[in-house]
């Protein structure tokens, strides 16, 4: 029983991490129709920025307490700035040219990983583990590492924050309308390009948060970390329904749990295969994903 509870908590934590990465992807695709393959680089850059800040690069930042909060905020800010810059400099000139966008973001992802490797090396670096995440909590006889709960709380906060942004703010109203009919939003006198930049910045920030918390969970940060998480994040976005945040949240939980349970109860590696099979099954039965939104 305790093993099952531990698997459940770990699966939920992993799902939360997938959601943090997938939510930005989902927002960006939903509004702009851009499949951002550089999202993994945003994540890794945010994680490295937080690591650098915590290692003494940023005064006041550190590996625990408020110092770690400041390091995380710095990583998130770096993710946001990178996201906004990529949109302004690389994506904006390529609106409606989807093949070129894919090529640019794939290239950027590769360059990002190479850049991080060039600066900090290819080996994983030990990532600070704040005290709140280092402890364990016993539930149902299982000693569950607290980092799972940190991931869950962060993912729930991000989900609620993004839903509130979409539901209650003018920017959210523009995003929801833009997902449906971008040209008509512009025909109402609203410059959607500003919203695009904001959404990219938001996606970069959330990806960076995922990078920081994912590094806490893994205990290290490495240049290729974003790329491996990105694959599962894409699967989550497709299963959830392209552009649907709540769909992505549900899909992330399902993917995290399936992966953990399959890995434990069958053999190591079967979890990844199960997730791919789940993706195939969902696409066959419900091509638009859980929320019913298919790629245009």
């Amino acid at each position: 029983m305790s093993t099952f509870v531990l698997l459940l908590a770990t699966g939920l934590g992993l799902g939360a991490l997938y959601f943090l990465v997938a939510s930005g992807l989902s927002l960006i695709y939903g509004l702009m129709g851009v499949l951002n393959f550089a999202h993994g680089a945003f994540l890794a850059a945010g994680a490295y920025a937080a690591w650098w800040a915590a290692a003494g690069g940023l005064p006041g930042a550190g590996g625990d307490g408020w110092g770690f909060v400041l390091a995380t905020a710095f990583g998130v800010a770096v993710g946001a700035v990178i996201g906004a810059s990529v949109e302004l400099l690389l994506i904006r000139p390529l609106y409606r040219r989807h093949i070129e966008q894919v090529l640019v973001t794939v290239g950027l992802g590769l360059v990002g990983v190479a850049l991080l490797r060039g600066i900090w090396g290819a080996d994983p670096l030990p990532f600070p583990r704040p005290e709140v995440a280092a402890g364990v909590t016993t539930i149902g006889g299982a000693a569950i590492p607290n980092d799972r709960f940190v991931l869950l709380v962060a993912a729930i906060a991000v989900l609620l924050g993004l839903l509130a942004l979409l539901r209650f703010t003018r920017i959210g109203l523009i995003i929801r309308a833009g997902v449906e009919n971008r040209s008509m939003v512009e025909a109402l006198g609203i410059d959607v390009r500003r919203t695009f930049t904001l959404v990219f910045a938001l996606g970069g920030a959330v990806a960076a948060l995922g990078g920081v918390l994912g590094s806490v969970y893994l205990g290290s940060v490495s240049p290729g970390q974003g790329t491996s998480l990105l694959i599962f994040a894409f699967i989550v976005v497709v299963i959830g329904g392209l552009g649907s945040l709540t769909g992505s949240a549900v899909a992330a939980v399902v993917v995290g749990l399936v992966q953990q349970l399959a890995n434990y109860y069958t053999a190591s590696g079967v979890g990844d295969l199960s997730v791919v099979l789940l993706l195939a099954l969902v696409l066959l039965v419900r091509p638009g994903g859980l929320s019913g939104r298919a790629a245009a």
């Binding site: 523009i174 449906e180 512009e186 025909a187 006198g189 609203i190």
Partner: protein, 239 residues
């Protein structure tokens, strides 16, 4: 007493639009009167909708487009609209997943009281349905949302594309009545296939054929000439 301007509110000069390999507008020049309704007529596919889309910048265009004397033909869509051009597209294009209130708030978060009162006067039903998703409204109700959306901001000109298309006869009459009232406040460039509606609303007409202006003049004069109407539009002017 202020003099009423007789200068056109909108002037197009030698406007060209190329979409893909097609030369859709081939040097369109026209003027829209500063008051009332100017109807843009022509057979299907001659470039009426493209003309409206060119004015608001939804298609790439060349040539001169002047709004009350100011050049707007090189601006992007949001900027053109903010200069005071309201646009009601063919097929309404309301945001189906947003509520009626959200559709209107998106167009104008803080409308002037007179504008809000006019919308309320013209379309009282919208207030009752403010929390309903626009996608669940009837065609006529969606047209009301589309018109209200263009009316709320302080527009200097409204471009309205086939507002009666696909509506039941009773709704056509209601929409025409609303447009009549709207035109008292803001000049309108109207694309319309329904000639009785044109007869009721339009002071001037411009007729397009194959991407060019082939006639411009008073609406009553053209519609009184059944032969000329048939020649230009391919339909009779009676009904």
């Amino acid at each position: 007493m202020r003099a009423i301007s007789t200068e056109p509110v909108l002037e197009l000069a030698d406007v060209h639009v190329r979409i893909g390999g097609s030369h859709v507008l081939q040097g369109v020049s026209l003027a829209v009167a500063p008051t009332g309704v100017t109807a843009l007529l022509g057979r299907n596919g001659v470039g009426k909708t493209t003309t409206l889309r060119a004015v608001v910048g939804l298609v790439p265009r060349t040539g001169s487009i002047r709004l009350a004397g100011d050049e707007i033909g090189r601006g992007r869509t949001p900027w053109v609209v903010r200069q005071g051009v309201g646009y009601v597209p063919e097929d309404r294009e309301v945001f189906a997943t947003l509520t009626v209130a959200e559709n209107l708030r998106l167009a104008c978060p803080d409308p002037e009281p007179e504008r809000a009162a006019l919308v309320h006067e013209l379309f009282p039903e919208l207030a009752e349905r403010s929390r309903q998703r626009a996608g669940t409204l009837s065609g006529g109700q969606q047209q009301m949302v589309a018109l209200a959306r263009a009316l709320l901001p302080p527009s200097r000109l409204l471009l309205i594309d086939e507002p009666t298309k696909g509506l039941a006869p009773r709704l056509v009459t209601e929409v025409a009545a609303a447009l009549e009232r709207v035109a008292q406040v803001t000049p309108v460039l109207l694309v319309e296939q329904n000639l009785p509606v044109v007869r009721r609303l339009a002071g001037d007409v411009v007729v397009l054929d194959a991407g060019r202006v082939v006639h411009a003049g008073r609406a009553d004069e053209l519609l009184a000439d059944a032969g000329r109407t048939r020649e230009l539009l391919g339909v009779g002017s009676k009904s």
